[in-house]
């Protein structure tokens, strides 16, 4: 389960619109499953169909989150032209078993979902949206 505010969801959505048609990506940091911060990161693939986080930015985000007493809870990315469900590539490349994967589809109507992906199996995770 992951709790996230509408404000932070709006940040992800705005990032997605800025970068569209490319996929946008970032880290979600927080505590006790409550997201308190979004770190927009560079999609080094610069692709409408793929994303890869910049490792140097990943480390910087992790260290920043620590300063706020937070951990990385999830990685978020947009699907500019496909639904909010893990693609085969999302599943194949999900190596970190300890975080959730948040996918924000920019198709109308925009939708956001969270998933746990472990050993090739994606399972929907509860996403609690707070005001």
């Amino acid at each position: 389960m992951l709790s996230i505010s509408r404000r932070i969801l709006a940040e992800i959505y705005a990032h997605g619109l800025r970068d569209r048609p490319l996929e946008a990506c970032g880290y979600l940091a927080g505590r006790d499953r409550l997201v308190c911060r979004y770190y927009p990161l560079t999609n080094v693939d610069k692709s409408p169909e793929h994303f890869t986080l910049d490792p140097a930015e990943q480390f910087a985000a992790v260290r920043s989150a620590r300063q706020y007493g937070c951990n990385i809870l999830a990685v978020a990315h947009t699907h500019p032209a496909s639904p909010a469900r893990p693609s085969p590539e999302d599943i194949r490349l999900a190596y970190d078993p300890d975080i959730l994967y948040v996918i924000y589809s920019l198709l109308e109507p925009p939708t956001v979902k969270a998933f746990s992906i472990r050993r090739g199996q994606a399972v929907a995770a509860e996403l609690n949206i707070e005001e």
Partner: protein, 73 residues
């Protein structure tokens, strides 16, 4: 040996500990998909076996993050 691993102070038994051995101790299943910084500097994957940790080192590791929607519906 006292090391700070991903921001947490830990005591790891043994000496002459390599980055590769540390990742194994931390149950990293896909070390080829992990980036490591030792003292804030990237350790090339080719050096994981030879890069050694010493007392009071700071080491961070995180997984490659990528994927993609594939474009269409």
């Amino acid at each position: 040996m006292n090391i700070i691993i991903n921001g947490q102070a830990e005591n790891i038994a043994g000496e002459n500990l390599s980055v590769a051995k540390l990742l194994a101790l931390k149950n990293v299943e896909a070390p080829d998909m992990v980036s490591v910084q030792l003292g804030g500097e990237f350790v090339p994957r080719a050096d994981f076996e030879t890069a050694k940790l010493k007392e009071n080192d700071t080491v961070d590791f995180l997984y490659f993050m990528g994927g993609g929607g594939g474009g269409g519906l």
